[in-house]
Symmetry: C2
């Protein structure tokens, strides 16, 4: 028999407690990435009951992709005794718009523009579906099951290949007028002579404080400076952020300087974000967030130094509490609790 | 007999229409500035029925100040047949905190720190009172009576001696975790070699795009450049933003360049703010906002050039629709509709 511990549920602020008792006990979280689509059945406590995946790029036609997703997810639901127990489907996907349910113009997915993702999925499954972008899903996941439980004002920063963000104010994700708010990876941190960013502009936070940004900084430092470095043993174009981390942990001065540089830029950016919404905390997620004091010491120093007096010492910097393997599905699933109607 | 046109009221989103019929027809708006305290009786349409003022600095003791405010405001209320018709009192004051009702640490007012402004005023008048800072009050005023009627996501930028801001998301002013959110005048726009700002840091938006910032830019340009300029007829330390405006309108190249410089920095900053909350509009208020195309042309060009693709062409830039003489009282009064309890 299924037992749910109703007393200890935390959905953040967006779900009145009176609605809980009529809810079905699971949600389906779907994370559509450029390579894999991962999906899982999640309970109210944030436990991933079961998960599976399909290849995102296998089908050039969206109908075929949807058929496979439906077949595989249904198999997972049946195997885990979850038929008629799915409250909603939450999907995290690049450029997905919470308001419209559409993927509007995404270059990483093969199915063209203006795709009615939420509509088609909810129709196919007969279950309400809501969508948002990856970073907003991460923020919802953290608020529902992770480090942001109980927080009403926080900013999630995802430090991956790029830099993403999800902003929560008064317990609600900020979607903005058009559904695309919270692109803090594209705050301009170097106005002059900034690096070219993937967005086509220059000087964005993402060009410095992502995993690729760290590798670029290492290459720049190696070219400008003459000192010896462990990183000189690696062909310069092959250097990854992991290489820089390993070298820094082995005591390499140049590699440590790269982390100082990265942490300083991120700390200054977090101070700038604070004058906007004065969050209680920033929550860092992604590979780079696991660099420990290499990143956190310069980050805290720069943040404190750059902080406007009235906010000094106030915003905390926390690390995500979601397991990386589950985080994308958990984040997407959190949105499933919000999905309404059909 | 008092007649109120209930069909055409717009309070923004924060006041359910069902509450309106039980409301008293007026609010008292109080704007506490460093020099003058202006107060007025305002109706639901944003008409200032009557207003008056007292000197803020006259009383070193807050009790004495409060006595005079009470005496003078009561006289105004009685004279205008508004006794028992005041729904609430809204106060805009530097550093006033919406959550606590307190003025916490303000250097411009003579009454010390941790002043329970909302509590003392509501007790004295027997009318609910709410407080916020000047720029948030301006945003509320614009949403209730001005250019932001019907907008749920906008950012108010006040261009005065300093640069203030009030951010509205989902129809609600953003106060942040501590009540002090929305200090966009202190976004860092020049990270290296930036100008010293009144806040003690360097490179803030306020140091460039305020009235004083424009005067500083003119002085810098006059010192660095050798070309003739009408501004060279004025002792350099006496130059004001009004002088720069007059010279630019008379065709002075250097003065026009100052506006180009100012508008460009502001436009870039508005593009940066857009990645945060993707507002439907920015609303500009204050003397500098009335510089017309001198400011608006470079502002629009820089904003468009710096805008992340997904937001290009989306946020509008509007000018305040509140009369400058009434704006402070109107803004503060808008908060009076929200005031609750005693």
């Amino acid at each position: 028999m299924l037992r749910v511990d109703w007393k200890n549920i935390n959905f953040g602020d967006y779900k009145p407690i009176t609605e809980l008792k009529t809810m079905k006990p699971y949600v389906l979280g779907v994370d559509i990435g450029g390579t894999n689509t991962v999906f899982g059945i999640v309970d109210t406590r944030g436990k991933v009951i079961a998960s599976s995946s399909i290849k995102t790029q296998k089908h050039a036609n969206f109908d075929d992709y949807l058929d496979e997703l439906y077949t595989e997810a249904t198999r997972l639901i049946e195997t885990n005794d979850a038929v008629d127990k799915i409250h909603g489907i939450g999907i995290g996907a690049p450029n997905a718009n919470y308001y419209t349910g559409m993927i509007e113009h995404c270059v990483n997915l093969p199915w063209g523009t203006n795709l009615d993702l939420a509509g088609r999925v909810s129709e196919k499954f007969g279950i309400p579906c809501a969508v948002t972008n990856d970073a907003n899903a991460a923020a919802l996941g953290e608020m529902t099951y992770g480090a942001a439980r109980g927080l009403k004002d926080f900013i999630m920063i995802t430090l991956g290949t790029g830099v993403g963000s999800g902003i929560v104010i008064n317990g609600q994700v900020v979607y903005g007028h058009d559904g695309f708010a919270g692109e803090l990876g594209h705050l301009v941190v170097k106005r002059n002579n900034g690096r070219l960013c993937g967005c086509g502009r220059t000087g964005c936070l993402e060009a410095y404080c992502s995993a690729t940004g760290v590798a670029r900084s290492a290459r720049e430092f190696l070219e400008i400076r003459t000192e010896p470095s462990l990183l000189r043993n690696i062909p310069i174009e092959d250097i990854t952020s992991k290489d820089v981390y390993d070298a820094a942990m082995a005591g390499d001065k140049l590699a440590k300087d790269v982390f100082d540089y990265t942490g300083t830029i991120l700390g200054e950016a977090l101070a700038d974000m604070t004058v906007f919404s004065s969050p209680e905390a920033f929550i860092l997620f992604g590979g780079l967030a696991k660099s420990g004091e290499l990143l956190m010491r310069p980050l805290r120093e720069a943040m404190d130094k750059s902080m406007l007096d009235v906010f000094k010492g106030k915003p905390k910097v926390l690390l995500s509490e979601l397991k990386e393997a589950d985080a994308a599905v958990l984040g997407a699933s959190a949105l499933g609790w919000e999905a309404k109607g059909l």
